[in-house]
């Protein structure tokens, strides 16, 4: 166990250093990612077994990030994927299980890396102008949903970056617009800008309710919206450009003040809209230095930049779980950043066979 501790502590120190410096060049990233994988190959039994099954050995470990065997996010449903036993993990996040019956669990040994990674990414993406913010959360309160990674993330942000007056407005699936409106009025009176952190679906619900009452909700100057998540499993879908235009109008914001975050329960780090693309119709995602996307084809091989494929995430901050995770999200690497296309692009069936999503909607 001492060997494990020494190895884990050394890796954590390197990752924390990269987070603090907010820098990691190509070679250093490859080296760190491969060392994290080697650690997991040894101590994460289920991941190690998978890697061995496809030919990885102690003597033939990957030397580049692209060579690291990736696990599909679905694997978190089938096994404990952690370098320590679940009872020794400090954090447990449950996946939503949106498309399949079972949900998965992402265990993390310590909150330290997770919090450092999320705060560093958030600081660069949302707080670069240094404006102090009050947080309004249109996501489930973590006291109601204790194993929500999104709830944990936003609670951490509010605790570490907020003014102590944050509010949670989504309870039991219902949005408390009256209380939100009152709190925004108080923020105006206090002269404090607000950061509304919301899922896309909750934002639609807010805008619909405001529109039904013929009202708007102008936010104090300097305010912004962090939008996360999509519409999966919901009965109503609104296009992102339409949603942002409506939100900007209702909240008296510039559309560039609305920033999309892209993350997963199975990751410790998040992507955000790049600042340069926030004024354009096409947004691109930027990862923090210790997180890299690789776009792969159906056989798991990286595709050239500009070609659409499935996104694989190499997240060094996942030191105690799985460093390389394959998703079904589509995207392409471009000079401007990661173009995220989601899951629907090109997903239409060619024939009349049944589709699992369709079956679940019956």
């Amino acid at each position: 166990m001492n060997e494990y501790r020494a190895q884990a502590d050394a890796l954590d120190a390197r990752i924390r250093a990269a987070i603090a410096a907010y820098a990691l060049d190509e070679r250093a990233f490859d080296a760190l990612a491969c060392d994290v994988f080697a650690h997991q190959f040894r101590w994460n039994a289920a991941y190690g077994a998978y890697a061995r099954s496809i030919g990885v050995t102690e003597r033939a470990l990957p030397r580049t990030a692209t060579a690291i065997p990736a696990l599909p996010a679905a694997a978190f449903k089938d096994a404990v994927l952690c370098t320590v036993a679940p009872e020794r993990a400090a954090l447990r996040f449950d996946t939503s299980g949106t498309t399949r019956a079972r949900s998965g669990r992402h265990y993390l040994e310590s909150p330290v890396l997770y919090e450092a990674a999320l705060l560093a990414g958030f600081d660069r993406a949302m707080l670069a102008d240094g404006v102090p913010l009050r947080y309004a959360m249109l996501v489930p309160d973590p006291r109601d949903v204790p194993h929500s990674s999104l709830g944990f993330m936003l609670a951490t942000i509010a605790r570490e970056r907020g003014d102590g007056n944050e509010g949670w407005y989504l309870h039991g699936g219902g949005l408390d617009v009256a209380r939100l409106t009152a709190d925004v009025a108080r923020a105006h009176a206090d002269g404090v800008a607000v950061c509304v952190a919301t899922t896309a679906f909750a934002l639609v619900a807010l805008l619909d309710e405001l529109a039904a009452g013929g009202r708007t909700l102008p936010l104090p100057p300097g305010s912004r919206i962090m939008e996360t998540g999509g519409f999966k499993g919901r009965t109503r879908f609104v296009g992102r450009s339409e949603l942002y235009a409506r939100a900007a109008g209702a909240c008296a914001l510039d559309e560039a003040a609305i920033v999309a975050e892209y993350g997963m329960t199975e990751l410790s780090s998040q992507y955000y809209d790049s600042p340069a693309s926030r004024r354009s119709g096409q947004r691109f995602k930027t990862p923090p230095p210790w997180l890299r996307p690789i776009v792969v084809d159906g056989s798991g091989r990286p595709v050239p930049n500009g070609i659409v494929g499935a996104i694989r995430h190499i997240d060094c901050a996942n030191r105690s779980s799985v460093v390389a995770i394959d998703t079904e999200d589509l995207g392409a690497i471009t000079p401007r950043g990661l173009l995220l296309l989601g899951r629907e692009e090109g997903a239409a069936l060619r024939g009349c066979s049944l589709d699992a999503e369709d079956l679940l909607r019956r």
Partner: protein, 414 residues
Amino acid sequence: MRKISCADSTALRALSARSIVAAIGAAAQRWTDADFPPRVRATAAIEERLGYTTPVVDYALDRLFGGITAEALAAAIVDELGSLEILDGFVERPGRPAAWARGANAVTVISSDTTIGVAIAPLIFALCAKCAVTVKDRADALVAAFAATLGDERAALQTATDVRAWSGGDDDIEAQTLGGADVVVAFGGNEALRAIRLRCASDAAFVPFGHRASAGYVSAPALAGEAGALAAGIARDALLYDGDGCLSLHLLFVERAPGGGHERFVDVLAGACAANAIEFPPGPRKPARAARIAAYAAAAAFRAANGSGRVMRAPDGAWTIVVEPPEDDLPPFGGGVIPVIFVDTVGDAAAYVERYRLPLQAVGIASIGEAAAMAQAFGAVRVAPLGRLQDPPLAGHHGGRARIADFIRWVDRA
């Protein structure tokens, strides 16, 4: 009387049903020649639209047009209506009033989500009923090309047919073609079918063909027989058209056999899949489909590495066999994936189907003697020998429905 699109069946109604049947059979006969120029053009267009390779499209067109014969058309019509002549006028019937099976005036066929030529069967039976038929075609224009050949045989067949392509939701066209039709035949997913149904006239007949799955069942005695031939049939049923069709095999139930024969059969099946991929090479999958299949296969490989189930996969992902997938993890239905589920009895397999309320189109079986039991157990509308799932007979009941009865109205002389 409703008038839609530019399809006009006036001239067609002057023809005898027998002559119409003969003309359709002759047109289809021309399309069985792989060098027939319209077929050559259509083949290229289908490959472009669906991404299938030439051997796959050729197989499909051979089966499609080879099955459209005057004899098969006549047999289906006589089976359902009693005679061909009953489509031409009143026919005396012992013990019942004389009757005329008069074709509906206007039929619309929506073939939005189809693999290759699914709209052709309803088109030709509606023409046999002397209806004016509007078909929403796909970008490959296969149906339009075949309609032109029908016109070469009998001009009245082409004037009775209006084949056009349009985008779903085009209000002007859909108001006319759906709202003005006496019969609407539609292929598509649940949401598309609901939307189409809402646009039909209140007294129109709606004939929906929703998305379906098909399954195979290999009994323990069958494992002791010609396992290689059985596996080859299963591979073709599952992998042809990349599993996109409702008649593609999407699930395989294999009975546990003494001595582990069911386990060994999976190895035989893997060999058959590899051979099938050579005979019918799959084309490229769209990225979303490829990602979904890759994720499913990788999850299976992860489980297998940790002692649960087994997975075999072509290096290029053309086919994937997943043995004993978790019961609560739905397979992707196609994409070259064959989930193999070991069972002790037909009842176990039926329970699996029931658990997910899987709408089964067909069940492939190893021995025709098992047909009645399988039909009873699975609630499928077709039971076929494994290897023949993708080759439905024209005179059969696709989707469990009549072929021509939906297109006629009975007129009694009493």
